[in-house]
Amino acid sequence: MDAQLVAQVVVLAAFYSLVGTGYVLVYRASRVLNLANGELLMLCAYFLFALTVLGRGLLPLMVLLALVLVAVVAGVIYWATIRPMTGHPVFSIVLMTVGLAIVLRGVSELVWTAQARYPLEVLGITNKTLHLPAGAAVTVVEAGAVAAAVLFIGGVIAFLRLARIGMQMRASAEHPVLASQRGVNIHLAFALSWALAAIGAGIAGLAFAANVRLEPNIAEQGLRALAVPLAGGLTSILGTVIASLMVAMSENLAVRYADPLLAGVVPYFIILAFIILRPWGLLGEEEELERV
């Protein structure tokens, strides 16, 4: 297994784990799969694109602003559409996120059209190739994405475990009524979960847009990453990270040694395998599988 393959797997895994963490955070808070996660990924990239009008040289600020904006959007989505649906069956809430995804995609296409954009070009920045030892090569954006993934996910895990608010978020996710009896504003905690999830997806979106291209259907990358939290455990961030390496490796191996078209389906085979053998994933809680 050569170094280039390893590098590709790590990069893809970083991407998957960012999006996957988004799914996990939302699932813990609202017990649903946020199928609009891909659209949040796409939106963040478009926010960055819109902010490029500020001119070059301010890239860090633009990145920060784009992430803040998408976090706010996610918080608003939670408040306006998910919070009123407390108590409804999971199926309905998931379908609601699908409806939101469609609206977000349509609005983005309306505003920015389906034309492919290249934000880095607009900013005049070139995506140089970094040559790593043992003959591997990754782009600057890819390396940045891996670093960002490590920082973000590590930060989220630490935050949830150590910070007071993090503990309150975990408590609200486990038992909302009890948490509110203890004075926690659970809806604020949930909105925060959604915002953090959006930031994770947003980082992935920015990386993809900078590295490949920006167009509305990059939102589909979000669905592609769905296998990761399902395999890793919908309640475990650590499980998602492990699963992302697993899925990334399987995909890359399939592309290299089997049919390239297979890469798209490999995640779904993994999902099926886990559903049959271990539905709650590698590190997920063995929950009483909720009925619809």
């Binding site: 999971v90 199926f91 998931v94 609601m96 409806g99 909720e290």
Partner: protein, 355 residues
Amino acid sequence: MASGSGYFYTSYRQALAVFDTAFKKQALFALAIAVALFPLVGSNFQVHLVNLCFIAVLGALSQNLLIGYAGQVSLGFAGLFAAGGFTAALMVKELEFSAFIPVVAAASAVGAVLGVLVGLPSLRVKGLYLAVSTLALHAVIVYGASEYQHRLGGSAGIVIPKPSFGPLIIDSDREWYYLLGVVAALTTLACINLVRSRVGRAWQAIRDRDIVAEACGIPLVRYKLLAFTVSSALAAMAGAIDAYHAGFVSVEKYSFLLTVQYLAMIVVGGLGSILGSLLGAFVITLLPFVIDFIVHIFPTPERLVINILQLQRIAFGGVIVAVFLLEPRGLVALWERVKSFFQLWPFKFMVSGLR
């Protein structure tokens, strides 16, 4: 449901009848007349629209049986719809056989078999995980279909000839109208009876609380798989008929978005309701055309007119979100509310019993 109408059954036969009240019988008769005469007054385009709705009704019924009545979440509709279409395509292309009824029957059979497969996870998991496993199976089916299509070099799709019954060839919109109308009506009637039967009751018991259903002696495995089988057979049948109607089959149209459209139909119309399936099918199918109509009737900025596709999309997503926020139980619930209001007026609610 609230009923202050004071209508009572006076015989067992009446209680068992599908259309029990005189009003229902009369309404049905009037509806039948209206449906039969519509092609004579409507334009070709309008008839075509209703044809699309008729096909949608088949799919919506299949989804509502599975999700609304049996409570099994499935995201695999597009895969089964594709299975129906591609079975037709296979028979036309490979076996050079295109007689309508046998092909559709074969497609239904294929759907039924696939349905058992898609339904197997339901014996182990429920809810979210079941939904995801059906999605995965859908991806696998579509992958298989796309491999077939690409291998055959038919990247533009496979052409299906017009259906024929002996000397009669279904060619125009009006001819399709009567064929599809009859199929939709018969299917609806079959579904109404199915949900009233022991099978339907077992499904609803499973949906509401499967552990208790099992304790009551309902074999879960048999009825869950039956739900998947029937629903998938119907979905594949719809897919085959749609293939004939469209005239060709191509893997692009069997996307996840198609599944979402049909899920929207049953949610907007009302889960667990035959009427809901019909209403939802019509509303969702006609929605893009309504948007088109509105955009062209009212003065709209040029930019929006060009991007009509996006507007239709936004409207579609918006309808789903709006339904959940305003009336999660769908149009039938809205209809029930209106009905109760008039039936109970001037009272606000019934005191005795629970709704």
